[in-house]
Symmetry: C2
Subunit: 641 residues, 2 copies
Amino acid sequence: MSKVTFQIEGETPVIVGCNPGDNLLDLARRANVAIDAPCSGNGSCGKCRVKLVSGELESLKSRHICEEEYEAGWRLACCSKVLSDCVVFVPDIASAYQSRMKTADLSSPGEIAIFEDCQNHLHQSGIHFVNRFRAVTVSMAEPTLDDTMPDNERLTHALTEALGVERVEIPYCVMAKLAPALREHGFSLCVKGELLGDTFRCMEICAPEDTAIVGCAIDIGTTTVTMVLTDLCSGKLLAKGSSGNGQIRYGADVINRIIEQSRPGGRKKLQDAIIKETLVPVMVQLCRHAGISARSILRLSVGANTTMNHLLVGVDAQSVRMEPYVPSFFHWDGLLAGDLKLPANPLAPVLIAPNIGSYVGGDITAGTLAAGIWDKDEMSLFIDLGTNGELVFGNRDFLMSCACSAGPAFEGGDISCGMRATDGAVEACVIDRETMEPTPEIIGEEGQKPVGICGSGIIDLISELFRCGIINAKGLFVREGRRIRRDEHGMGRYVLAWPEESETGREIALNEVDIDNFIRAKGAIFSAIETLLHAVDMTVDMIDKVYVAGGIGSGINMKNAVNIGMFPDVELSKFHYIGNSSLSGAYAMVVSDEAARKTAEVAANMTYLELSTYPGYMDSFVAACFLPHTDARLFPHSLHE
Amino acid sequence: MSKVTFQIEGETPVIVGCNPGDNLLDLARRANVAIDAPCSGNGSCGKCRVKLVSGELESLKSRHICEEEYEAGWRLACCSKVLSDCVVFVPDIASAYQSRMKTADLSSPGEIAIFEDCQNHLHQSGIHFVNRFRAVTVSMAEPTLDDTMPDNERLTHALTEALGVERVEIPYCVMAKLAPALREHGFSLCVKGELLGDTFRCMEICAPEDTAIVGCAIDIGTTTVTMVLTDLCSGKLLAKGSSGNGQIRYGADVINRIIEQSRPGGRKKLQDAIIKETLVPVMVQLCRHAGISARSILRLSVGANTTMNHLLVGVDAQSVRMEPYVPSFFHWDGLLAGDLKLPANPLAPVLIAPNIGSYVGGDITAGTLAAGIWDKDEMSLFIDLGTNGELVFGNRDFLMSCACSAGPAFEGGDISCGMRATDGAVEACVIDRETMEPTPEIIGEEGQKPVGICGSGIIDLISELFRCGIINAKGLFVREGRRIRRDEHGMGRYVLAWPEESETGREIALNEVDIDNFIRAKGAIFSAIETLLHAVDMTVDMIDKVYVAGGIGSGINMKNAVNIGMFPDVELSKFHYIGNSSLSGAYAMVVSDEAARKTAEVAANMTYLELSTYPGYMDSFVAACFLPHTDARLFPHSLHE
């Protein structure tokens, strides 16, 4: 029996017993040490970098660890076997992806505008932002020897009078604290609850001045989780935060996570990773930030893909990827916050935006609601660039959807220096055609050094490299210069930042493998659009509007995206970036009973197109894996040397 | 810092740290070592006997410990201070009351008859034994590539068809295991749940052959807890068991327990004592005995006094005894088994028979339902002899109730050799007038040695002692003989069993203090009857029926009870012993929706008479504290020398 000590940057070390030959990543997982492993440990992504401090590991060499780094002790955890007692350093920023997850408050006027816009245009579609939750302050007479009505009857009488209801339901969690609450607050209380016809169901009792009733809308992406707290009366945003999805150490994509959850105890592990490690800390922080008690959260909503929904609920997701592809649920009412032990009122319903297929989930139905395309005459194309790509096309008469295996490149996955669109991400870039020097834009405060490149930055870089003739239509480097480097195998890369310029002390570059990965991703998107249009017998010029959603970054340059053949070459004015539409849709659902109903209706009426079996899709995909496309006539406005 | 090791007979020792001078009973409570202390530790009951094995205790001498016992190390825990590291033996049968609680299966044809009678006569009153819980086995088509309906929709369709309902609610606990359950059982399942109008609320899914749906009816007495499991379809009894109420170490009566629960952390301690220590073990054992899964228990009902109800729910009971006497609830719907973490379906409703006053609780409303007096023309007197005495008088036109502070003597409390009516209890006795030798009847198998005396045995003993002229009307010994002993203070006692004849090796006797305690108890009952009749302007001869309920024992000799002036001197044929009517009523409520509704109606229509402030009650009580009464004309049939 040996032991491994994980020295986690900024945290208490974790010691775990092991046998010689044990895989280091498996050990870390067993000990609940969070190490990124988007590829689920097959050595391909290079994100699980750790540094050997003492002891002996048997590690495979990897293209992700250069000679100097290997000398310094850097290893990939997934490619390392423990040979003796070891001490291993787990860096806080082991990769641009960040090994460990952070919670951030992202409030900004721009962020709020997206939700206000959503509320405004849904209002125009007849969706009112009202719901059945209430906070009502009641004052009761103090009991005397002549008025000995029990506490619960006293409260019931006060509430029937105040609300005009016939029945009042008092659950255990309220009953258990009613007597002291009444006496502490002089028989004056704020009661929070749900109005159901002629019945008021109490959910919480508070001091008379604590009248906050709060909704929590959550977008659970495969890579990133984002949520808002909102006032259930006004729809006003109270707090917003995000964090990496803690499941990422079980794989970057849904397939790897489904495989992980199928192992013994896997469902519990994956559920814990999303709930205990991800949602709970963010919710707790947002409650603190908004100055509200978690018990005031009376309803939650979730926009998430089918797999994430299954893993959240803890039901077997195996059926999502295995014949006959029968998931446990598409649309399911009946979940309560208490079932998942979320820091909210335990009786709060959790609305899950309905899934419509194995790979078109609630994030898309919620996003479709938010984009408003279900109520328009014009033909709209809705594109959600998450860890995968999903599309919806149609108008008020029909809606057709599909998913394509674009992979996680838009969120920085499968890209050596890729990262999410957070602080330190290069989100835009211009390259000088002559000097080939870059002018990057970095997310964060003045002086923020670059950490990596997010989706919109990669689009800009590839578009600019192509425009400047630095790479050819296949994504291979065809010019030489100071910024163009090649490794021992001759693979070219463009150095965006030298080691001394970056936050991590490592070079930030885009290499030919990265570019190839990204070209496949954009090719998957474009061919999916082509196929979807073909299926409804329409063409690119019939598209009236293109709504682009997802974590790719608000800085996405539509011109560059067309330039590389990712989006169809339509007028730039038709493009609209609508941010995280899954979150906007979840926000609408949590505040508005009508929006929640409408989302279910939209889901029920949406048709699902299975691309993998659609004739011609593979040909279309192969043709799209060039810059901009093998058929350049499709992109008359694409610029290149 | 010293430490005390509790060597608990038949269990693992418990070690607890302490400071010199700490009270031994307090230490035992802190360490969750169950030691009886019906008097809540004031030295009066003598039940908390422990034996010092090593170390030093400073103990007050007590009349409950004789010189030989003291020499042997016996001490009262409540009267002992720890002076050094100690080892203390806690006997399994430290007293006839039994220090520690036991679960027993009490099934017998006689027991079953009581419930069948209850069902039969309620049926005659128009109360049908049907309810809204269902078990339905559905078989579904297995999914194929052409039939990819999600699991929850598949189940919903099958259930709407099978039950003719419009909506099906699937809660988390069912959803979480639906996918594997369907696949394990070949898409054939038994679904258990609740039919609510046009909605079926699923509560549990099982193998198709597991169709048991079970109700659990619980009588929570201050001293004893008794429960039955019953088939919710047929009303058939599946198991019956009982146990001492684990709260007894916090006091024998409700007042001491209310005081204990008012201390910091007290509510939780008292709630744990009834739920974790008492109800859970009995329920688990009964489920095992009945061969059912706890999840099949779909409804529970509780018959308990107002204080027990408050302590069960964990709400402050202080108001039960303090002005203005406003309890948290009389009638409350809304409790679920999951709220209390009972071993049952977490969604199972827990019906609490409504209380009608601080000292007339749900045990009495449930008992009144079971006695059937609410539907009769004839005038009935219902007497429940629990740890206190409660009475109801009336017929279909009116019902009047009251409670009297009879104390726990009927269940063996406040009696030196008293015990509950379980194995080893002397439940009946005849005394030979000449020889003064007793012929006791002992509960248990052939050859069972006596452990103590239960309520019915005490009635017989006192009646026989009085009839034989051994004691006088004041309960003092006036004859001498082999069986009559006196202590150093001259206090007389009648020795029922010599030390070598008893199970415990201790003498079993009834002394003058015991007799005095019992006379006060029976006096309280009789004067309460007198006062209740007076309040409705009626007399003893207008009583058509007397229903006697409670844990006093089915062997109660009504003639002897009249003989000592406990019950009014009416024709013996008018008396009926109906056993544990709180349990029978709870049984009716759990099986029958109509019975549950009717109990609430009976409670709402019952009038409560407060005896303590009723003019003349105290005089009546004082007059009744003789054998049979100061006014012997009230008891023309009483026999005595």
